[in-house]
Subunit: 305 residues, 2 copies
């Protein structure tokens, strides 16, 4: 089935305890579509960049069979830029510089040939942009997934709650789930948030794994304990891309398959952090993905006699 | 198989956002042996209390078929006392008052009828006391498990490293694993710690579950997401008691069985936090335990096609 991803394509400049980068390709939609490319060839991107965005970077996307018909290139404008620095523990980061540039008035236009998408991934942008995308589709997709962050809860809670009413699945981290629900207990928070609209909720807990809620069912997805986290940038988007990519591939939104999808998402995210930016997920072998998923099976399988 | 537990039996006074207690029965060995009582009737306790410790509390232990022949009651002295207050998030607590009393010079004596124990649980006390227990046994048990805490790493790291050389399994939390190893990555920390002696290591992560390491194998044990954590006191000891109790019952220290044991440990800990102190684990039905373990199976089982 076809997947449509709407979100940011950007330049990132990164500093971790292991080193620094110059401007490299980043952005939520970049990570999502690159990751989904291992699962589906019907992988459609809607984003905006400036004319400073090099053709080689667009070629990286095309090489992964990502359809960039919806990638608007604005003449005389500059691409969204983020410069971040991670602390030693990698769990915290400081934003050194943000230049919104073309993302400041992101107005996504859905090409006609993208209108039939069954799976829609709304990457982290403003809730009003996300809502606009939903409203501009001729038919509602089969499965709509949305990512957001605490920033939008601070500045646009009303719009966020509006868009939540219309989606199938929300993915946020534990801190954001507590803010959105006003409840410390993630189990109660999940109930509150699902009552806002999404019947499926994923609460990401970073190195501690993720929780998948669907109605009254819960699944705990482990994170692979890693020897080294080189760069966490994009791990959450990679997770989302693996999740929705797997759903688009299998076209099965049963709880059993959502569980498989979240395992694939976690496996893909475990690759993402091994190198800077999207470098690792640009160069994955199917055998590496299969082996990593097998590690997750090993990690969490047990049998009660 | 028979289990021997050496550790504290104490008075606790607790304050949580949900209420306060007067002096109630607490202490690591109390939680461990009460929990293990659901798995084995060969459940031997070595501890020390003062003559202020009421017979009714000893009866609670006896009612659970815990052999208290090794419970020394010191005339004219007082029982170890801890008064703690939990923060709103339940992840942090302040010690309001500690009276070491009889624990100040705890000198455990192993009764002759406890000498044949195959499973030994060394609850959190000073490493020198733990070492003394090991040295006072005529034969080395089949499986020796040890709990400790950051305090001993600060004041007695040398003695702790000495005792670690002689044990099979260490249980600590993630913060303690990082202190003991000097490494932030839990996967590398585990290697470093296992090189100190214990071939099996459990790293507890509270609400995020636990990691079980044995040589080059890893298992991720989830924690049940709870609606309410009423009182976390003793959860770690209950976890340990469920783990070693299950091992003593099944007498199988294969990795597959260690995985089952850690699931039972987590299930028992999930009961512990439901009421103050040891109240909940004093009154469990086998059917409740079976149902809770089934919840863990539900929570973490998936099948990759």
């Amino acid at each position: 089935m076809s997947l449509l991803t709407v979100g940011s394509v950007a330049f990132d400049k990164l500093e971790t305890p292991f080193g620094k980068t110059d401007k490299i390709i980043g952005g939520a939609a970049t990570f999502i579509t690159l990751t989904a490319s291992y699962f589906t060839r019907k992988n459609n991107l809607v984003a905006v960049v400036g004319d400073d965005f090099p053709q080689e970077m667009i070629n990286v996307l095309s090489d992964h069979h990502i359809n960039t018909d919806g990638l608007e290139i604005r003449k005389g404008e500059k691409t969204f830029f983020w410069h971040g620095r991670y602390h030693t523990d990698m769990n915290n980061r400081d934003t050194i510089e943000v230049q919104l540039n073309v993302m400041g008035d992101f107005d996504p236009k859905i090409p006609e040939n993208f209108q039939d998408c069954q799976y829609l991934m709304l990457g982290n942008t403003s809730p009003s942009v996300q809502l606009k995308v939903l409203n501009s589709l001729h038919n509602r997709p089969k499965f709509v997934m949305l990512d957001t962050m605490n920033f939008w809860m601070d500045v646009a809670m009303g719009e966020l709650k509006n868009v939540l009413k219309q989606i199938d699945c929300l993915t946020i981290n534990d801190e954001e789930a507590r803010i959105l629900s006003g409840d410390y207990s993630l189990r109660r928070a999940a109930k509150t948030i699902m009552a806002m609209g999404p019947k499926t909720l994923i609460i990401k807990k970073g190195e501690h794994g993720a929780l998948l809620f669907k109605e009254d069912k819960i699944f705990f997805c482990p994170a692979l304990p890693l020897e080294e986290v080189f760069d966490p940038t994009g791990a959450g988007d990679t997770f989302a891309g693996g999740f929705i990519g797997y759903l688009a591939k299998t076209d099965d939104i049963s709880f059993e398959n959502l569980k498989r999808a979240i395992i694939y998402g976690s496996a893909m995210a475990s690759f993402c952090v091994e190198k800077f930016g999207s470098e690792r997920i640009q160069h994955l072998l199917q055998s590496e993905i299969d082996d990593r998923v097998a590690e997750f099976v090993q990690l969490s399988s047990f049998e009660i006699k």
